[in-house]
Symmetry: C3
Amino acid sequence: MNSGTPKQLIRIEQRNPAYWRVIFDNPPFNIFGPESMPQLNLVVNALETDSKLKVVVFESAVPDFFLTHYDFVPPLEATTSMPPGPTGMPPLPDMLARIGRAPVVSIAMIQGRATGVGSELALASDMRFASREKALLSQWEVGAALVPGGGPMYRLSRLIGRGRALEVLTSGNDIGGELAERYGYVNRAFPDAELDAFVDTLALRISTFDKEALAAIKHQVNAATLPRDADVAPEWDAFIASVGRPQAQEKIAQLMQMGLQKNHDVEARLGYYTGTLSH
Amino acid sequence: MNSGTPKQLIRIEQRNPAYWRVIFDNPPFNIFGPESMPQLNLVVNALETDSKLKVVVFESAVPDFFLTHYDFVPPLEATTSMPPGPTGMPPLPDMLARIGRAPVVSIAMIQGRATGVGSELALASDMRFASREKALLSQWEVGAALVPGGGPMYRLSRLIGRGRALEVLTSGNDIGGELAERYGYVNRAFPDAELDAFVDTLALRISTFDKEALAAIKHQVNAATLPRDADVAPEWDAFIASVGRPQAQEKIAQLMQMGLQKNHDVEARLGYYTGTLSH
Amino acid sequence: MNSGTPKQLIRIEQRNPAYWRVIFDNPPFNIFGPESMPQLNLVVNALETDSKLKVVVFESAVPDFFLTHYDFVPPLEATTSMPPGPTGMPPLPDMLARIGRAPVVSIAMIQGRATGVGSELALASDMRFASREKALLSQWEVGAALVPGGGPMYRLSRLIGRGRALEVLTSGNDIGGELAERYGYVNRAFPDAELDAFVDTLALRISTFDKEALAAIKHQVNAATLPRDADVAPEWDAFIASVGRPQAQEKIAQLMQMGLQKNHDVEARLGYYTGTLSH
């Protein structure tokens, strides 16, 4: 994949000039890695600069997976050698921060597993709606002796409160759609068969409203709620530091042995498997 | 209405010296406008200075409407020419901030539509209880290309979290009592037949407690939760700026054409009608 | 009790070196007083320094009472004469702040009344799980003309929002397990028969994870959510000031007359009795 045209992992489907769907399409698990970075960056650039765009829905074309954890196959240097983004932060925290500040409404529509980067992208989006039957949200990292790096300690805590955030983050458990709604991790959970229609109606409605008013409203909400870059940057540093520790290398090796990134069941029931590792 | 005794739009009913009901009574829609300002100010003054008052319940005498949007009939200058209040902010954000700081517990009892100013007054009150069948809360402004001016970007975000607040504020949708409770927009929703008795029991109980202890408790909660004036003042400026923009003037003209401030159905289903405007 | 071996009010049961149960055992009501302070301090020291400990569950050995209000029998000086803790704050706010900062996950398992200090310790813990049938949480203090002193104005407001926190704090009402979950006062409520097994499974899972990763995750959540000492210290000062006021002395005397600290029904239905005091 290092030469020639890179595989398209993220597609844009324009429902109308004001309303786009952004579709994660990296089967079989929608793993997010160094290759995904520049493709997501094109989307974030559009959120910041497209003069007609008002609302964007993040969704997945891969059954069972919205977007999941970071890719452990490429060497860590493939990530740490990337130049920082416009905020001065490394690419992933940079793009997540810019989604929050962009003058466009962003909606995560979660119909499968949103783990690690998937949960972090959902948390960086303006709203989240989940399938009652199929959504699984988690910050699984602690189960591999890792610290999450994409801002969930700050964003999840501010969204659902310290107590529930600490449960999600220190247990690494999978959270289904119904509990995610009860905790406020998502705005609402819907029966899977109704989710897309609800999100589509909402996004279409927003796309008829005035872009300047939408941006001004979001600007004020941002002032009340967004973390500063200095609040989330240490989470990325803590993630990178944790990847290098022997405890994490040992746990990741165990998971790889079990079939991480290869075996559907390991990816689909990641919360279960992290609880079975020797320690 | 500019000469003679102004119509009484807000009445006070003293259940006992420590417990007052403040009743919005401006039929047919409980629209809030320049005339309402000095009358609400008398109430806010009492919250700040009455030595016996401990708890106040805001309610409506108008069926289907708790308190709704700002009056679009008087010229904007009738509002912008008003002198600032004691905080230095214009009258509406001034009074809402002072309700939060007053040493008296304030409870909004919502049995009809609380839209725009109605939602903002409810959010500025210390607690909110809603009718499960009859309450409709909304910040409808975006549907008319307006930015809400009374602090909801800050207050609602802090109350229900960034994700749900952005949904309410960028969709302009009507939120019923049950969903309002699920989102934390109100403390709790009750069957309409039980709401008044619940609120009355609660307010009577509080009215037997020590005023000094109540005030000291609220003072500490305020330190942890209230926005500074500098946090909410920009929302009013953004509202005034938005009213002057052609996009808003065009949408308001369309709504007036449909019967805004005249037709019961337009006021009662405002969220529906803003979704039908041409854009 | 002032000479000889002090009664053991707080016991530690090690499920494994990484997972301890801390058991409040001061029958018949699990009242918390000056004698409890040094015993809780030993626990807090262990949370801060034990190299193997990862997760601790606070529970009660006393039926119907998790941990309740401060002891009104010893003279106030027995409390105010205690030297400050390592934070520079008096012992109770000091220990509660240190539980929040400790590199160990703390879980309150609430199967009876958690009132006053009991609620405050639960709020200072990282998570809270409650019995649906048996848990009763409250900050009852306002009913005795007191101001709570252990940080709930800050911690509860940040956890459940200004509106619901003001209801809990200015009503002094008892909050059952189901409502406590709905308000976010606890993470979740479970049928009493299932609570211990849920908490045990969760704590065991956490105890298999890497201590360094757990501590780093909690450190970042702390940065996003913990009050500064300067935020909570004024609550203790307000409590001490309120105890000395004649209104509080009069209400406490009435409650003592009714059987506070002696009569099971007064302790078990404290929210009811505070509503019956003459004022």
